[in-house]
């Protein structure tokens, strides 16, 4: 028996609905249909009047959820794709994110964003928006990379009093399997050493953790021991774990699937160089997607985002300093 990443998301929502009557689910096609990716399959039948189909109104979906949160609910809103949250942008960054600071009333709202690229999905069904939302004060931005994290971080995220942007990677949905949903269950805000090493640190998150591990495996054949740090949450960012890793390795590569200007990798490098400059034995490196929309064709897509090959190449450069 194995459990997939999307199973974990479904299980977490089932558990939340069962155990916390403040939780309800809202999103397009999530009730009878069970969602475009089946993350809510069967939940509407199991929990009548807790799972609702929304009109195609992303802005109102979030506005509505904010109102419900004010009145004590803990809504989970599914965006059909992360890319469509651009329509809800205002309600997320200006209404939900500012509410606690302005009024003292917290908004325990979770927005599920099916994120990241898959072959053939093209510019509008592939985006990684964690680095956009993380720029805004008042949001917590989670990027689970494992089955267990997908489960526990959704539970823990919904338990937080703040609006949570939960970035679930579509590529991992069915591809990523685990024996069990259990894991180390680290708290939100703590990164994980996914793979210990001593010659260089790769900081990654979400699907890129797996690409980084693959790259590390390849370099291991040449005797390099690469440490892979999984950020797990990009805001808050666990600088301590990163710095401790860099202290061991002296070398840092930050890998992300988002566009190359700014974003998570820039924040990681800027924070490490500010706080841990003396730990670095070589210029810290970055690897992101290319500076174009995510292309549709699988051949272009594969060259647009970081791959084990391009990560290896970046690591070899880093190790050569």
């Amino acid at each position: 028996m194995s459990v997939t990443y999307i199973d974990a998301i479904r299980e977490a929502q089932e558990k939340l609905l069962r155990e916390d009557d403040r939780v309800f689910l809202y999103g397009q096609d999530i009730a009878t249909f069970g969602g475009a990716f089946k993350a809510t399959k069967g939940l509407a039948e199991q929990f009548p009047n807790r799972v609702f189909d929304a009109p195609i109104s992303e802005d109102a979906m979030i506005g509505m959820a904010v109102g419900a949160a004010i009145e004590g609910m803990r809504p989970i809103v599914e965006m059909q794709f992360a890319d469509f949250s651009s329509i809800a942008f205002n309600q997320i960054v200006n209404q939900a994110a500012t509410h606690f600071y302005r009024t003292g009333v917290p908004i325990p709202l979770t927005v599920r964003l099916p994120s990241g690229g898959t072959p053939g999905s093209g510019p509008f069904h592939s985006q990684s928006m964690e680095g956009i939302y993380a720029q805004y004060p008042g949001l917590v931005v989670l990027t689970p990379a494992t089955v267990s994290d997908a489960y526990h971080m959704l539970l823990d995220g919904v338990a937080l009093d703040d609006p949570v942007i939960y970035c679930e990677h579509k590529f991992l949905y069915r591809w990523l399997k685990a024996k069990s949903i259990n894991g180390d269950h680290l708290p939100i805000g703590q990164a994980r050493i996914t793979r210990p090493g001593k010659h260089a640190t790769v900081v990654a998150y979400s699907a890129m953790v797996h690409e980084a591990v693959r790259a590390a495996d390849r370099l291991a054949q040449d005797g390099w021991e690469i440490e892979v740090v999984d950020l797990r949450s990009v805001k808050p960012l666990d600088l301590d774990t990163i710095l401790a890793s860099v202290a061991r390795t002296g070398r840092l590569l930050a890998v992300g699937e988002a566009f190359p200007w700014g974003g998570v990798t820039a924040e990681v490098i800027a924070r490490v160089t500010e706080e841990g400059f003396h730990l670095l034995d070589a210029p810290p490196q970055r690897l992101n997607a290319r500076d174009t929309p995510v292309p549709y064709h699988p051949k272009l897509w594969a060259a647009h985002r970081p791959t084990p090959e391009s990560i290896c190449e970046a690591l070899r450069k880093l190790l050569s300093f």
């Binding site: 979030i62 959820a65 419900a68 609910m73 500012t98 606690f100 009333v105 703590q190």
Partner: protein
């Protein structure tokens, strides 16, 4: 308070109550205007002059502690009628740290979400789905019965996607919601004909499958009656109601603006009449109040306003060194047990 529930007597009380809120708002806002002109207020001052009958009729028809009300920029009268203390207003405008926004947000952006009055963000239309969500929560909690949620917006805000999406969502859920559009002919300087092309905004109601009302917003008795009726229908399960009130803003967009783009014939036209004067006449003519009574109210309110201003002015302003500089309710890092 129900405008017509028990016939004429309640009607009288309702109208007196609406008018009293109108008066409090007008006198308070006149004071805010002076304070602004004297340089005592930072940030913009947006007044509801001329719109008090509409706003206060809505606020009075709502039940504080049970209903929800999302006021917009010209709803001092509705806020007052809904029960917001004047001191909340003066504290916010004058930057007192004791105010509901503690200096973090200002002027019209104040609110007390936990008392049924969310704090607006500036983005027009954005409060429509929020009110819907508050009602939706009550339905899920099994305590929706008898409640209403309401919000006011301007003619300009009907052009926002937020208004459309929010109202449609409320209609689909058949929530007990009232949206009052104060069509004051202009959005800032932009006249109706550059904002929409329908003859009357109330024609939008059918397209949402909701109830629609049109009312002369300068007429207290008409407002109290029509808005009261819309609130009643929503409260009794009739689904969302759209009320469009025709009127004019009797000041600039904000106190920085002289509104000189409003043509003279519009200013001096029908909607240019002052709803407070109309209301006073209506109350007196119908013997709901005497002139002396009204003069006494005016004096009382003026003193009340003076006190609220004086108190807010002597209070501390926020201190950046003691400010809690975080936007999150959660304190990170979490320990394992906290995260669960």
């Amino acid at each position: 308070m129900q405008p017509y529930a028990d016939g004429v007597v309640t009607n009288r009380d309702f109208l007196r109550s609406v008018f009293h809120s109108m008066l409090r708002a007008r006198i308070l806002e006149n004071k805010l205007s002076s304070l602004y002109k004297a340089g005592k207020i930072v940030g913009g001052v947006y007044l509801g002059r001329g719109q008090e009958a509409v706003s206060a009729s809505l606020g009075t028809a709502l039940i504080q502690g049970s209903d929800f009300f999302a006021p917009l920029i010209r709803d001092q009268a509705g806020r007052t009628a809904f029960g917001e203390p004047l001191i909340d207003c003066t504290r916010t405008y004058l930057g007192s740290v004791e105010g509901p926004m503690r200096g973090r947000d200002g002027n019209i952006h104040r609110g007390r979400p936990k008392m049924g009055m969310p704090a607006m963000i500036s983005h027009l239309g954005a409060q429509v789905p929020v009110i819907a969500g508050m009602l939706f929560a009550k339905r899920l909690q099994g305590t929706l019965h008898g409640r209403v949620g309401a919000t006011c917006i301007g003619d300009g805000a009907t052009s926002t996607g937020a208004f459309h999406e929010g109202l449609n969502l409320a209609a689909v859920e058949r929530l007990p919601m009232v949206v009052v559009v104060a069509n004051n002919q202009f959005a800032y300087s932009t006249p109706n004909h550059r904002q929409f092309a329908c003859a009357d905004l109330v024609e939008k109601a059918r397209g949402y499958g909701i109830g629609g009302f049109s009312v002369d917003g300068t007429d207290l008795m008409a407002c109290a009656s029509v808005i009261g009726e819309a609130v009643r229908i929503a409260r009794e399960g009739g689904g969302p109601q759209l009320v469009v009130a025709r009127l004019l803003r009797l000041s600039g967009h904000g106190e920085h603006d002289d509104g000189s783009y409003v043509p003279a014939e519009i200013r001096s036209g029908f909607y240019g009449r002052d709803c407070i004067e109309v209301a006073m006449r209506q109350l007196v003519e119908n013997q709901f109040a005497t002139v002396d009574e009204i003069l006494a109210w005016q004096e009382e309110v003026a003193e009340e306003v003076q006190r609220a201003v004086a108190q807010a002015q002597q209070e501390a302003v926020p201190d950046p060194y003691h400010e809690d500089w975080t936007a999150l309710a959660t304190r990170f890092p979490l320990t394992l047990s906290q995260a669960q």
